[in-house]
Amino acid sequence: MLRTIVRRLIAVPLLLLGVVTIAFLLSNMTKGDPLVAIVGERQMTNPEVVAAAKARWGLDRPLPERYLVYVGNLLTGDLGTSFRTKRPVAQDLMVRLPATLELVIAAMIVGIVGGISLGVAAAHFRDKGMDHAARVLALLGSSVPVFWSGLLMLYVFSVLLGWLPGPGRLDPRMAAPPAVTGFYTVDALLAGDLPAFVDAARRLVLPAIVLGWAVLGIITRLVRASMLDVLGQDYILAARSKGATERRVLFNHALRNAMIPTLTIIGFSFAYLITGAVLTEAVFSWPGIGTYAVDAARALDYPAIIGVTIVGGAAFLLTNLVTDVAYALADPRVKLG
């Protein structure tokens, strides 16, 4: 098994180089002229300004040279400079990373905790009302467009009912807590700023539910299926005949084995979370990497788009690797091919 893990570890950098190459080629296929984004529409008629900008951003060099420079810079953690913010892309992304991570982690909690509970309940009450309700909820989660469900939830819970605050990470009248982890909820607690914590946590609820819903759907379906599978096995019958309580049978005997296939899906659902995070952040004005990606794409800010794409690809590859390894460790029967 060690050999397969090592082989995966070698494949990841190669795949990453492929990702970088494709992203770089894409940015050079552009129809829209990036110079317009740099110097602005009006200055485009001024040859001096255009030439200076070309030299400044290295756009006058041949393509292979630019590629080598780009890959070389990447190795030192330099993702290039954004046309739009005029700051290093890596720096822009680092500033926005905690907001996205906080949202994704919260959504993951919603998806995993909600999905496992619903899946176990659905399997236990098979073909009863609870089961049908869980299945409808799961189905909607993976079918509803998050940019619409987000709008609707904001309207219902924030405008109509007034239970939760509107979009954004924190009330604009409040000062952000001193940055330690970059997670507003954690930082506010560390600073002992209770009002900021409450506001940040309340603003996290809706986007986390909207984003976590899709994952909840996937996990519910899988936990339900594998629970039903496990519950039909002999050792469950044995546990029941020894007089184990239903709760013990469900959670200690059945769920632990039913969790093994769920583990892969949790890693796999990361893809959904990235997709969803881009759109959820756009709806909730969440100042994370998703909003940055959308703004960059709209402004045709290629260094920023490539940067986000490469970082997303890297995160994606790493999660898959970790999932594969965790899966192999959790289930000794699994042999990685």
């Binding site: 795949l15 990453l16 492929g18 990702v19 494709i22 992203a23 894409l26 940015s27 296929m29 552009t30 129809k31 829209g32 189905l139 909607l140 079918s143 509803v144 467009p145 940019f147 619409w148 469900s149 709008l151 609707l152 904001l154 309207y155 405008v159 299926a225 599978d229 039909g232 096995q233 002999d234 893809a271 990235i274 997709t275 881009v278 759109l279 756009a282 709806v283 990606a293 959308v294 960059a296 794409a297 709209r298 045709l300 290629y302 788009i305 490539i306 986000v308 794409t309 997303g312 690809g313 994606f316 590859l317």
Partner: protein
């Protein structure tokens, strides 16, 4: 999966089936939804009272008898625009999936049948493409080509073909060693003929199931790109574009309601039909 309980011996009198087993209620609903949208897409200009691009009344009206889903920020009828939206979403989904299936299946079949260098090159390209989160790759491609529905369609093909290459390659690999294929080779059939006449006709069912489900996912992805501002441009009555207008006029919830429900119903419809097809081709896989 150990299935200890075998079905009881079939009674002498067989229960009469009124409909085939794969035709469950969700599948029927799915077919009805898709049929509804196909009919709407084809016939909508014939019977709607308003034009999707013309002002039909006062702006930002809530739903009423005259405007069932209200009017948008320019006073256009939201229901009419939603119905016209099918004329964009449906053909785009069909074209994107068809092209992705054609490219992916062709490359996958070549990879699986020839093996060797062709296989390595094609499958590494598949691996790299699948290493991107789909929405980010689609955004990067669309941004590179320039915003617009046609470029968004190209981007969606770019993110969706690799799955079909994998599916087809696996099928071809498992069929390549079958006896009837060996018989054809022994009889002197050329390699393209063996692949096209003896292998491919048996390899379609996983692709067909996946393509059906993908139709809904492409409707969703196209709407997502338009919502971001990279797909359909105003004043096109495209669903994602309409929802992004609804986000601007946030308090008029009805502007986004129609297109949101439309996307949801399309995704559900295609995934129901896809489930049914899977049960039809492979009854053992059913839930």
């Amino acid at each position: 999966m150990t299935d200890a309980t075998l079905p009881a011996a079939t009674p002498a009198v067989r229960r009469r089936r009124t409909r085939p087993q794969w035709l469950t209620l969700p599948v029927i609903i799915g077919i009805a939804i898709i049929a509804f949208w196909v009919i709407v897409a084809v016939t909508v200009p014939l019977w709607t009272p308003y034009d999707p691009l013309m002002i039909a009344g006062r702006r930002l009206q809530p739903p009423s008898a005259a405007h069932w889903l209200g009017t948008d920020a320019l006073g256009r009828d939201v229901l009419v625009r939603t119905l016209y939206g099918a004329r964009y979403s449906l053909p785009i989904a069909v074209i994107v999936v068809a092209v992705a299936v054609a490219i992916g299946s062709a490359l996958g079949a070549i990879a699986g049948y020839l093996g060797g260098l062709a296989d390595s090159v094609i499958m590494r390209l598949v691996d790299v493409t699948l290493a991107f989160p789909p929405i980010l790759l689609a955004m990067a491609v669309t941004a590179a080509l320039g915003p617009g529905l046609d470029n968004a369609a190209i981007a969606m093909v770019a993110v969706s073909w690799p799955v079909y290459a994998r599916l087809m390659r696996a099928q071809v690999l498992s069929l390549r060693g079958r006896e009837h294929v060996e018989a054809a080779i022994a009889a002197g059939a050329s390699r393209p003929r063996v692949l096209i006449r003896h292998i491919l006709p048996l390899a379609w069912s996983p692709t067909l199931v996946n393509a059906t489900m993908d139709l809904g996912q492409i409707v969703l992805l196209a709407a997502s790109l338009s919502f971001i501002g990279l797909g359909a441009l105003p004043p096109t009555p495209e669903w994602g574009q309409m929802i992004s207008e609804g986000a601007v006029h946030f308090y008029s919830w009805w502007i986004a309601f129609g297109p949101g429900m439309a996307i949801l119903s399309m995704v559900l419809g295609f995934s129901f039909v896809g489930d049914g097809l899977r049960d039809l081709f492979d009854p053992r896989s059913g839930t």
